[in-house]
Point group: C2
Chain length 258, copies 2
């Protein structure tokens, strides 16, 4: 999350927040901002898992671009050359919790004079071919299996098509259904995490809908407490049929409740 | 390893090396040393996995005692109250690689004024009940299963008895067999990792013995390159029968080679 990247960077340097959509409860991706040219790097979080917004393209940056892609890596083709550093946890699209990935351009390393704990210095892992510490072999094995699966299924282009199909199916229903409303600006909606609420006037039905889906064996649909409402996470592993099940529930709930 | 603990501490403070057995290639546990009373803590590594030595008891310290127990935690009953901090990786006696354990006395926390990355500050994990980051659930689940197994088998007292039985079986053979010799002072030999070499005059048979055991499906017996010879790791999960197999190999090799 960007918030944590800011807090962490503030421990060790000056931080300038270039853009934020905090003014509207993180419901859009800021477009009008200027990245200062005298900063060391520009940090973005490409997908907001809690609020359900996403940067859908590789943006331009006048300074080295650093991206936390924890929750949308492998969901679309990526121009890696536009980034100085891409990092994230593997636990969304790449494997189990307990492994991280880092894609770093070597020329951005080694510019810090401050002492860095050895394990946190990316150069350690470059020099030791990611074998400095005892590696979590079972987790890394699982990541390899996931990568092979992605490749066998058609690669990240195929993952993108599937993500778009899942997202279209759900967002279309959110927009059509009179009982529900999306929380994020249409063009910035995340393909990974769809956030929505009961529409105006129907707020009181939230608990009833949660019970409705739970009875139909859908769990974890409750939104993060800072957003409320619902959040449907649709990572690479989710079949379109599962989204269809949710959409069917929403239709049925509408029929029974209006 | 103590070497790494020293290097890491030197990044952030003054380090005084109180005792080391480097003079004799780490073949014993130093006993004659004085811990200064004006230092913040005294760090020990209780089991040396590479050189095969071990501190078998809870030692006394005039200052907070910090122990890396990566490779012998759960191998004997422990007086936890004698330590300010016990830490280690779980991958030897407690579970898979990719999980760490920390047992910390709360009163030793919060004395550092320097900024610490949030993830490296133990207070973060105390405050968040070890749920600050997305936990590696599969690995933690496995740790729970191992802990249950240890308990069901009779607890750490039983683990200690088994470790002593395995170690006695192997060290007795190392001492009896004319072709082999132990590398560590008898009283400091590790119950977890037994290091030994070909005895004086028989050094040239090292490769032959490695091939001899490999043919009998024993792998990984080669010692760390800084010690040479052989290293038999005997963690909690190892059955006495497996040690007996190795001992039988040593006897047979002796019969065929003298």
């Amino acid at each position: 999350m960007g918030k944590k990247a800011i807090a962490e960077a503030e421990h060790f340097g000056e931080v300038e927040v270039v853009a934020s959509s905090k003014d509207k409860n993180f419901s859009y991706i800021p477009k009008q901002y200027t990245v200062p040219t005298d900063v060391d790097y520009f940090h973005i979080t490409t997908n907001n898992t809690i609020f359900g917004s996403q940067i859908h393209t590789d943006i331009a940056s006048p300074v080295p671009l650093v991206a936390d892609m924890s929750s949308d890596i492998l969901s679309r083709p990526l121009d890696v050359s536009k980034y100085a550093l891409i990092y994230g946890g593997c636990q969304k699209n790449m494997g189990p919790a307990g492994v991280s990935f880092v894609i770093v351009r070597e020329d951005v390393l080694g510019h810090v004079e401050r002492r860095i704990p050895t394990m946190l210095d990316y150069r350690t892992h470059v020099e030791h071919s990611s074998l400095y510490n005892t590696p979590p072999v079972a987790s890394i094995f699982t990541v390899r299996e996931v990568l092979r699966w992605v490749k066998a299924e058609g690669g990240v282009s195929e993952m993108q098509q599937r993500a778009e199909a899942r997202a279209k199916l759900l967002y279309d229903e959110i927009d059509r259904n009179t009982l529900f409303a999306g929380t994020v600006a249409a063009e910035d909606r995340s393909l990974m995490n769809a956030c929505f609420v009961m529409s105006a006037g129907n707020e009181s039905k939230e608990q009833a809908f949660l019970e409705f889906v739970t009875k139909r064996n859908m769990i974890g649909l409750q939104g993060h407490r800072s957003v409320g409402g619902f959040r449907a996470s649709m990572y690479n592993a989710l079949a379109l049929e599962s989204v269809q099940e949710l959409v069917d529930c929403m239709k049925l709930f509408e029929e029974e409740n209006i």
